[in-house]
Symmetry: C2
Subunit: 232 residues, 2 copies
DNA sequence: CGCAGATTTGACTAGACTCAAACTGTGTGG
DNA sequence: CCACACAGTTTGAGTCTAGTCAAATCTGCG
């Protein structure tokens, strides 16, 4: 792994406070690979042999049941996925595939568990990471159970706008079909949902969104920090 | 706190391996109280001042938005809730109320964080607990996104049947209105869903369920360990 | 017995999905 | 450079699922 990537990974909250030698040991055992787009990295139900770090590109976490499939989350650089399965030494609950050409580090799960036992700072960082992840999923569940798909879309747009800097014009960071799946609806329904937001000043052109009337949209979306604030 | 309760709490996975003195210290600072039914213990958005342990009774975790409310989970003895908020020192994402007369221990969150920093075994237990909780919520999310309400009910019945010992006749452990909310539907819809399961051999009498044709119901429900297995 | 709350039923509406067809936009080969 | 192919998106029509509102029924309990 090149030094700049090594440093990027080292800077992650998960790794930043652990002992140098423990981090080095983890990285020594890591396999760093470039994957093409649409490559299935892990399959739900498989044993969690590796902890994954996305160095570049992006990864879709998804699940299937009875012929249906849904997108659970997207992982972007530089961050990690399936920590909980690694720690519990339990089967993956989600599958993962690359959305584009991606560079991924794979760390043997047993190495992670060994260092977890040995390095208190790493263990504490894991706790913070898991607590954060747990709260994120709770927020997602509230979003799903308390809002209609139109409300979820409106709030997603406001979150994405904020994430993109707050301007009236910004880009979606999802392909629409995947956005639909993440929001828990079909692509057709998403397309109609965008139209339904036109009266609130939302204009769509490809992946470019323009929010014409911020106050109107916010009045409809009623964003709430206990659902939409992805930092706390 | 009486000695028997003290021992019950001590036996929880979360506390069983920590140093005696640290456990004693946590318990010394705890407030143990009896609450009547329908008492709101915490409100979402409030700072997470206390970590909670349900010693007897039961507690409903729920969330609200824009005048709607949904039940997120039920906590039964002896177990704990809102660990993630306590650890992150962040606002509660859910509210909690007693479902019946309940005995609850409240441990100041800062005490939990202090012992977490001092006791490696406790920190590791917290990691396991959080990883478990995280995976539970992921399963719930898959249940919500991949299944219709009828399928969720069918699978809930199979889980509950297993939990109750596996016999053809068993009791719901929820009031129906709350079960509906947990499953993400209205009480009216739940009532109709039970009727729709009659062709699969499901009979309902109050909270008493009879599964007349196990194979039929399972064929319809298609239970999946990666969604329904609440132990892994 | 008679409430009060919970559940069920009925009628209707709204939200969301399915299937099929039309319409992009983009990249490729002729 | 254009025509085509392909994947993604949009539109249309119809259906199904789930929610709403109101009324009827049931149930536990004082």
């Amino acid at each position: 792994m090149p030094g700049s990537e090594y440093q990027d990974v080292r800077k992650l909250n998960l790794f930043s406070r652990m002992a140098d030698e423990n981090f080095a040991s983890l990285m020594r055992g890591a396999y760093v690979q470039n994957f093409p787009a649409q490559m299935e990295l892990i399959t739900e139900g498989d044993p969690s042999d590796f902890f994954h770090i996305v160095i570049s590109g992006s990864v879709d976490l998804f699940s299937s049941w009875n012929g249906r499939e849904t997108s659970m989350a997207t992982v972007r650089p530089v961050s990690t996925f399936i920590l909980a399965a690694t720690i519990k030494d339990a089967p993956y609950l989600m599958s993962a595939r690359t959305l584009e050409k991606s560079r991924i580090a794979l760390i043997p799960s047993q190495d992670v568990r060994a260092v977890f036992d040995a390095d208190g700072n790493f263990a504490r960082a894991i706790v913070t990471e898991l607590a954060q992840g747990y709260r994120s999923v709770i927020r997602a569940q509230k979003d799903l159970k308390l809002r209609t798909s139109l409300e979820r879309l409106a709030n997603y747009l406001l979150r994405q706008q904020k994430h993109a800097g707050g301007g009236a014009v910004f880009e979606l960071d999802f392909e629409k079909r995947r956005l639909a799946s993440v929001l828990g609806m079909t692509p057709e329904n998403l397309s109609r949902a965008f139209k339904s937001l036109q009266p609130y000043g939302v204009a769509v052109n490809g992946t470019r969104i323009t929010i014409g009337n911020q106050a109107d949209l916010e009045h409809f979306a009623k964003p709430n920090p206990l659902i939409d604030d992805h930092s706390s």
